[in-house]
């Protein structure tokens, strides 16, 4: 069986067409199997977001190949590529930007259905179901509201509802919690995991926070300066980090724990 997402020796360069280039990713090999949850973890500028953008075709690799749902992206015609994209969804970092401020929630969430060519009359049911599965219930209290009237957490849940409404097979969540209050991050991550389970989809969760990665993913891929430095099962990696970058990330996450673990748990 082929993987849902497969990167082989991928290089990505950024820069002006004829100017100096900066490597965002170098020789990256990564696979995510069907139904798997992986986390891509690294500091700002490590190239995490580029992986998400590669998978949805917003970025072209300079070398190597990208395979999504068993199909190599290179050489796909525009129509095939679009059809493929409909089976892949992305949740962006900033829910204040990723939602069209002039559209009501009902239209925002229905967009993937519209894009997939589903008749207008058959859209409301899945839209309402998606909103309710994200705890925005009753859905009809949210359908006619605009993003400006929602809190940050609600906006990000609308963005996730949009990502899940058309039952994608691959979901890329690009730091979906980093713009949210610390107290909401766990909830949003939990919702992503619940939906991923119910759809048996593949989840690629991108974060700089190993604590969240631990909670979401079975396997963690650590990126540093555009290269993968570690790719191991989550608990194993947390118990015995090999690479200095992983150790740095772990120390940073643990420094927070010290103050919280002493708190009474309920």
């Amino acid at each position: 069986m082929s993987e849902t997402l497969r990167l082989d020796n991928v290089d990505v360069l950024y820069g002006p067409p004829r100017g100096p280039k900066v490597a965002a990713l170098q020789d990256v090999n990564l696979t995510a199997g069907r139904g798997e949850r992986i986390a891509v973890v690294g500091r700002s500028g490590a190239g995490k977001s580029t992986i998400a953008r590669l998978a949805v075709g917003l970025v072209e690799p300079a070398g190597g190949s990208v395979e999504v749902l068993g199909k190599p992206l290179a050489g796909l015609r525009a129509t095939e590529r679009r059809a493929l994209r409909r089976r892949v969804q992305i949740v962006f970092q900033d829910p204040y930007q990723s939602l069209h401020p002039g559209l009501a929630v009902s239209r925002i969430v229905a967009e993937p259905l519209a894009v997939a060519g589903i008749e207008r009359s058959r859209r409301p049911a899945p839209v309402a179901a998606a909103l309710e599965s994200l705890g925005l219930q009753p859905a009809d209290q949210f359908l006619n509201r605009f993003p400006a009237s929602l809190s940050g957490g609600q906006r990000q849940r609308v963005a996730i509802a949009r990502a899940f409404v058309a039952h994608p097979e691959l979901i890329l969540a690009d730091e979906p919690t980093s713009m949210l209050d610390a107290s909401l991050r766990g909830t949003v991550a939990e919702l992503l995991v619940d939906l991923q389970r119910s759809l048996e989809a593949t989840l690629v969760f991108i974060t700089h926070d190993l604590a969240l990665a631990r909670y979401v993913a079975d396997r963690v891929v650590v990126l540093a300066e555009g290269r993968i430095v570690e790719d191991r099962p989550t608990e194993e990696l947390l118990a015995d980090p090999h690479h200095p970058e992983t150790q740095r990330l772990l120390v940073a996450a643990r420094r927070l724990d010290r103050y919280i673990r002493s708190a009474p748990k309920s």
Binding site: R85, Q89, S98, V115, A182, Y215, Y259
Partner: protein
């Protein structure tokens, strides 16, 4: 707080827009009701030639005996028609060109933009005149010609806007989910271009009207069509300017043209201001209200740097800070923690006197170094800001000016020791001030060879270091840091917090650290204050408060955190949604989300009262030690303890 910028017109602009609209209504009214307003035909003789105004011919007649009043009202039709149709055509053409060039880019963009440059470099009126003479005098030809030269400017402006919108979140999102270009352009781009489109349309209409009148005045227009320009042409031919006839033959069409052009210009001005809020300059902030209460508040004890007493802040009619008492003690970092919308940023801005309208302090005192800041007045506060009190506002690192080198920006923040006013420095001190700026940047870890960099050449962490350098440059007594680490990765977060600690020890200032991130603040602050819906709900020394939280909300915040060490445990969210300051429940604002709520909670708000060594605002405190299964927060779906693996 909402990030949507409300787009409102200033009253003066509103007056201009209203005047313009009235002018346009007059002209459009004349065009629509021309047949009712004039009893004579405009294009045939209806009396003797060269009549002065009389009861039958209100404006007299021309050299062919045609009624001038009829020509005036009917002339508005042609003038408006050419103006609006040509403008619509030009705007449509420009939009199309902009979408093709901006969205697809590449060769198409290059080709279209070279064409735009070419058209823009041609002298418009001369071009139309030459072409009109060449192609003949039909109305349609004129409209096409005008549109053919007017599309270029909207095309260029709209293309720039499309390029900007391409990168905006929801457009990228639509692209990522595989929406076709047609769909993206229609729902995502066109809608957001409307403000710019409408102002460009009005501007094109204005130029089209001028060109049409000019062409007709020169006798190059359609001779069968009466327009204001053609009236002037005939008047000129009949030498009306040499007789009294100019009063009723030249002045009325001239006035009519003026009314139309001024109307269009005014409406266009208002639309432009709407489409580009950067043009709007905001008036000065309202003066800080002096307290009516004549008694001078007692100065706080000497070891208290900042003390808030019953501080209340409202935005319009909505109270977002509802009576906060808070002390920053000398040498102890105070962490203020709350969710988005809890009022913590409004509180920081209120202390600094930086609340933008419609926000204002409605009650309370802010004591700093023994003085009530609210009594200082605007000028006094301005002197204090950046010197005795510094603030690192929310998202400060994105507030750096992208067009200025960082060293220039840091130097600008330096208050010159000689003048004490910042900004303007006596020439002798310039070198010394620049040296201080360099030293501050080096102190925060920006090496000297990076000082001349622009903000975009630095990473987020480095930009935050620059902001800290600006804040400590003038040796403040108190630093208010509002979410100083938001948007940074975990490793960089610690670097910034460590740096803040070092600076604090070195420069001896005190810190009020504001954040939504309880673990992060708890790791650094000596004291914690938890804010919910505009009030402090729990306050105490960090160690006690984290180990023995007494307010259900504090417990909820602690349980919501994912941890990397210890047994793998599901973070438990605080149930429900954050309180909406516009619709607070009666009684305790946290009650709707609280598992411990009882009748008393909805009857009355709990005052902040001492409990052991802390302060707690909860009717049910002290809470019993939580038992397994009895969550500190109301249960929601999926709070089932351990994660199944």
């Amino acid at each position: 707080m909402s990030r949507e910028r409300r787009r409102l017109l200033r009253p003066s602009t509103l007056a201009i827009a209203a005047t313009g609209a009235i002018f346009l209504v007059v002209v459009i009214g004349a065009a629509v009701f021309a047949d009712l307003l004039a009893q004579h035909p405009p294009d045939r003789a209806s009396g003797a030639p060269y009549q002065s105004p009389n009861s039958d011919h209100w404006l007299g007649t021309d050299d062919l005996g045609r009624d001038l009043w009829a020509q005036l009202v009917h002339g508005s039709r042609v003038t408006l028609l050419v103006g609006l149709v040509a403008a619509a055509l030009a705007t449509a053409l420009g939009t199309l060109a902009a979408l093709v060039a901006g969205w697809w880019g590449g060769l198409r963009d290059a080709a279209i933009m070279r064409l735009v440059d070419l058209v823009l470099s041609l002298p418009l009126l001369v071009l139309v005149l030459v072409l009109a003479a060449y192609f003949g005098r039909g109305q349609t030809v004129l409209i096409l010609l005008i549109a053919g030269v007017l599309w270029a400017r909207p095309a260029r402006l709209l293309r720039a806007q499309v390029l900007k919108l391409r990168e905006i979140g929801h457009v990228v999102a639509a692209n990522a989910l595989g929406a076709g270009a047609g769909r993206i352009l229609r729902t995502h781009l066109l809608r957001r271009l409307v403000p710019l489109l409408s102002s460009q349309f009005v501007r094109a209409a204005l130029i089209a009207v001028v060109v049409q009148s000019g062409v007709a005045f020169l006798g190059l227009g359609d001779p069968g069509q009466v327009s204001w320009g053609s009236m002037l042409y005939f008047a000129n031919n009949a030498s009306a300017i040499l007789t009294d006839a100019w009063l009723w033959w030249i002045v009325p069409p001239g006035m009519a043209l003026t009314v139309l052009i001024v109307g269009l210009a005014f409406v266009g001005f208002a639309l432009e201001e709407l489409s580009d809020p950067q043009l709007v300059s905001h008036g000065p902030a309202p003066p800080v209200r002096r307290r009516l209460d004549p008694t001078e508040p007692e100065p706080p004890p000497a070891d208290v740097v900042l003390e808030l007493r019953g501080l209340a802040v409202a935005f319009g009619g909505t109270e977002v800070v509802r009576g906060v008492d808070l002390q920053v003690a000398r040498g102890r970092m105070l962490g203020l923690v709350g969710e988005s919308g809890s009022g913590k940023s409004a509180l920081a801005l209120a202390v600094m006197g930086l609340l933008g309208r419609p926000g204002r302090v409605t009650a309370g005192a802010t004591m700093f170094e023994g003085r009530d800041l609210r009594r200082l007045g605007r000028e006094g506060l301005r002197r204090l800001r950046g010197r005795r009190i510094a603030i690192v506002p929310q998202a400060a690192m994105s507030l750096l000016n992208p067009t200025m080198r960082i060293i220039t920006q840091v130097t600008e923040c330096a208050a010159s020791p000689a003048s004490g006013t910042g900004g303007i420095q006596p020439t002798g001190a310039v070198g010394e001030v620049a040296e201080r700026a360099h030293a501050a940047l080096e102190r925060v870890g920006i090496p000297r060879d990076r000082h001349r960099a622009y903000p975009h050449e630095l990473s987020g962490g480095q930009r935050q270091r620059v902001v800290l350098a600006m804040a400590v440059l003038n040796r403040p007594r108190l630093l208010i840091a509002d979410e100083p680490t938001t948007g940074l990765d975990v490793v960089t977060q610690w670097e910034i917090l460590d740096l803040l600690d070092e600076l604090r020890a070195e420069f001896h200032f005190d810190v009020l650290l504001i954040s939504h991130d309880l673990p992060l603040v708890a790791a650094r602050a000596d004291d914690l204050a938890i804010m919910y819906a505009g009030r402090i709900v729990e306050q105490g020394a960090t160690g006690d408060l984290v180990a023995r939280p007494q307010h259900p909300y504090t417990r909820g915040l602690l349980n919501a955190v994912a941890t990397v060490s210890g047994p793998r445990r599901r973070p438990i969210p605080v149930a429900g949604e954050p309180a909406d300051p516009r619709r607070l429940p009666g009684g305790c604002a946290f009650a709707p989300r609280c598992a411990h709520r009882s009748e008393v909670c909805s009857d009355s708000d709990a005052p902040l009262r001492p409990l052991a060594s802390a302060l707690v605002a909860c009717h049910h405190a002290p809470l019993e030690a939580p038992e397994p299964g009895a969550a500190g927060t109301a249960g929601g779906p999926g709070n089932a303890g351990e994660v199944a693996t």
